[in-house]
């Protein structure tokens, strides 16, 4: 398959289970490198990129994992603060943004709770807050609203929408048709048996800076 994503675009990636959505997302957020083919991200070929340059690229990407992948020994606050700490933000500078983000996802009162004591929906919200806290240039979310109620799903999608309006390219893999229909300007990529279909014409956009 061959496609490009427009910088600042909002994309839904859909398709039946086992179609390869998660594999495609892993290539996007640099969890895997392809054995062949070409992937350009932020204007650079990431297939041949030296390994030591990967951390700088990964800091520009926010990821919501399907299985959340929260650090089990850290509180909700510390999990959300992790990308900022990795990037070297001082402790005094991260408390405000992390608390604000906790409030955004409705977990202001669970700041000290560890993942094991959070419900599935709460864990998912922490994972989303962690993915967006550093204002990434590319946000990749794998079934980000699968465990939350419709009201919270709407609220989280609004968060993605706000980020997108600020310039973040958003790619969300989902089965949720309500979710897809709630962002009017979003474009849809449908993956089926290794083939990428293009129901909304999203693939016709020429590649710009943020591309894959």
């Amino acid at each position: 398959m061959s496609f490009s994503l427009r910088e600042g675009g909002f994309y839904f990636l859909t398709g039946p289970s086992g179609a390869g959505k998660t594999s495609l997302l892993k290539l996007l957020y640099l969890a895997q490198r392809p054995s062949r083919g070409l992937i350009r991200l932020f204007g650079e070929d990431i297939v041949t990129m030296p390994r030591k340059r990967m951390p700088g690229f990964r800091r520009r990407i926010g990821v919501v994992f399907q299985d959340f992948r929260l650090v089990p020994h850290l509180s909700a606050f510390d999990n959300i603060a992790l990308p900022l700490r990795v990037a070297g933000v001082e402790e005094r500078d991260l408390e405000g943004p992390v608390k604000e983000m906790l409030g955004w996802v409705g977990l202001g009162h669970r700041a000290t709770a560890r993942p094991a004591t959070l419900s599935g929906g709460e864990q998912q919200r922490v994972a989303i807050a962690r993915a967006v806290i550093a204002r990434p240039e590319l946000l990749v979310a794998d079934e980000p609203t699968g465990n939350v109620d419709p009201e919270m799903a709407k609220r989280l999608l609004h968060l993605f929408d706000s980020l997108n309006r600020l310039g973040t390219t958003v790619v969300v893999a989902t089965h949720d048709l309500h979710l897809i229909s709630s962002i009017a300007r979003a474009e849809m990529l449908r993956l089926d048996r290794g083939e990428l279909l293009d129901p909304t014409g999203a693939l016709r956009h020429p590649p710009r800076r943020a591309e894959s």
Partner: protein
Amino acid sequence: MKGGVRRFGSADRRLLPEGRLAGPMPWVIAIMMFLTVLAAAAGLGLGGAARSLGADLGNRATVQIVEANPDRREAEARRAVALLENQAGVAKVRRVSDRDMAALLEPWLGSGGLDSDVPVPAMIDVELSQATPPSLESLRAALVQAAPSARLDDNGQWLAPLGRLMNALKWLAIALVLLMIGATAATVVLAARAALDTHRSTIEVLHLMGATDVQVARLFQRRIALDALFGGGVGLAAAALVLFAIGSRVAALGSDLLGSARLPALGWVLLVALPVFGVVLAMLVARGAILRALGRML
């Protein structure tokens, strides 16, 4: 937000959940350090004893005048002293006084002093020149001519095997220290790999968020350094207790030979430096092992 490679702050030290003394590694390092300090102390003590033996006795000889008749014994002793004082290569000659002889023989003959009925040889201590030592054979021949009852004992001759044994033991101790250092390094590598496996999912998350290998390695390095510091401290303290106990037993024996194997002040400094060296070694080995393992990850 700042870019570049940063250290994790104190808050992120919690990323590795287990307490610093949760695993067996600190105790393994403590045992290793205990044995290393004992081996190093043995090496230092034996090295000092070998040097002391060489310096104190190796260049000395003893002349005995074994003559039952006190008058002839005295006359031969005087002639022997006179001859020795004029020999090239002899630095100092000292006739052992009756009082010193009585003190030497007191453990066997009691404190009643030398009985004139007991024929005790006259003894002469001879200090040989270290720069130009004489031929002991020619000295022996000259002595026998001047004093037919004289016997010349070369202290170095009977001390040499002891000195060689002490040197061999010293090198054995050094080899043991090196083996212990190697075993400690191997233990640290295994512990580092085990820690990486235990925390693989956390490391993957950190990597995907843009953490560099050096950032991740620092988390493990710090913890392993703390383990090594604890183990080193415990091992050193236990070894010091054993060394003090052995020292007091040796002192109670009153043996000059065993007493010469005491540790010099610099030796103690070296022993205390061993745990510090252990911590640095553990950090470097752990860092190398972790960075190599992380390098194989995506």
